[in-house]
């Protein structure tokens, strides 16, 4: 998931060619207050005239305690971005407020109600504590997204590369998201030059259960994609698991084993997830 500053045409118009699965057009922090109007119009036009069919499009809007967020939604909802990212979300009420307004704009624009999903950006201590409330607040919520920089500022602690200070927030978000059957996405690694640090941080995020990770530089896209994509061995094993299950069914076996290990429900579930990713990334057929 690549953040792109909303008022920078050079990056915006190439949003779908930089390798990320998702382009996040940023109308918030990347845009100074006196350029909010310009960025809003530019992002709207980019969505209107450019073809972003190669990637998912998310628009990060301004916080609900500013004068900008409704204008942001008025401009972009008629162009049907995949998701809206409200910022500094600290409870389900904020999501319901944003969702209700999205619904009004959808209705006004003649697009199907509920088409645009919400990806809340959780970046405050209160937001982390209310992660489940946020995740379960509205049918539009498609995932939870952790913002580590603002979160650590709110926690009065220093943001480090090791990330101990956001460990609790990470696990809490993943758990809340999974409990609601949605995805969780990790905060960006902000040192653009440190590729090893990025890999370590991304591998750790994956190990916690995150489905993806945001990046602030196109240079980080490849490593994050690589870490979050299943390996050839994982894909091969997932196919073997599903084959063994089918074979077991044919033979009427109750207990099935593969390579000397019993295949239980969690192993099948994980194999299905790997095959779903194989389908999403490679269109299947890697075997």
């Amino acid at each position: 998931m690549l953040f792109l500053p909303g008022n920078t045409p050079n990056m915006l118009i190439n949003g779908d060619t930089l390798g990320a699965d998702t382009a996040i057009f940023d109308l918030e922090d990347a845009v100074s207050p006196d350029e909010k109007d310009a960025a809003r119009i530019l992002v709207r036009n980019a969505l209107k005239y450019q073809d972003f069919s190669g990637c998912e499009v998310v628009v990060r809007i301004n916080p609900t305690d500013t004068e900008f967020w409704k204008k942001d939604l008025d401009a972009v909802i008629p162009l049907k971005p995949d998701m809206i990212m409200p910022t500094k979300v600290s409870g389900g009420g904020m999501i319901r407020e944003v969702s209700a307004y999205i619904g009004q704009v959808e209705e006004r624009s003649g697009i199907e109600k509920g088409s645009v999903k919400i990806l809340p950006l959780i970046e405050t201590a209160l937001g982390v504590e209310k992660a489940f409330d946020i995740a379960s607040s509205d049918g539009r919520v498609a995932g939870l997204f952790l913002g580590g920089e603002d979160f650590t500022a709110d926690m009065h602690c220093k943001r480090t590369k090791e990330g101990q200070e956001i460990f609790y927030a990470r696990t809490r978000l993943v758990c809340a998201a999974r409990a609601c059957g949605i995805e969780a996405y990790d905060t960006p690694f902000t040192d653009v030059e440190d590729m090893e640090g990025l890999r370590t941080d991304t591998e750790f995020a994956k190990s916690l259960g995150f489905a993806g990770k945001a990046v602030i530089s196109p240079r980080h896209v490849d490593i994050v994609n690589e870490v979050f994509s299943p390996t050839e061995a994982e894909i091969e094993y997932a196919h073997d698991v599903m084959d063994a299950i089918e074979e077991g069914k044919r033979q009427g076996k109750g207990v099935i084993s593969l390579r000397g290990k019993m295949i239980d429900a969690p192993i099948v579930k994980r194999a299905r997830q790997v095959l779903e990713m194989e389908q999403a990334i490679y269109g299947g057929g890697c075997r």
Partner: protein, 90 residues
């Protein structure tokens, strides 16, 4: 509609353009300086004039320095400049 006050929009970065507009009650002055003038001057001029028409603006001074902006960027920056200059779509 008329341009009511001086306004600017855009930047001089690559793929962008910088627009300055000023009120003028009598005529339309349009000056475009573009790094891709040889290939795309007609298209740039067309996008600017169409945006002016959309906002029903027929007079004013418009100065543009283009750094290779796409059509959708030209239209966005024109709209921003016009709105900042006091022009609203009816």
């Amino acid at each position: 509609m008329k341009i009511l006050k001086n306004a600017v929009a855009g930047t001089l970065e690559s793929s962008d353009l910088f627009i300055q507009i000023e009120p003028d009650d009598t005529e339309l002055v349009l000056e475009i300086d573009s790094v891709v003038a040889n290939q795309y001057m007609d298209a740039i001029r067309g996008a600017v004039l169409e945006t002016l028409k959309e906002f029903d603006v027929s007079t004013g001074k418009i100065f543009i320095k283009d750094k290779g902006a796409l059509d959708c960027v030209i239209r966005a920056r024109m709209e921003t400049a016009l709105k900042r200059g006091g022009v609203e779509k009816e």
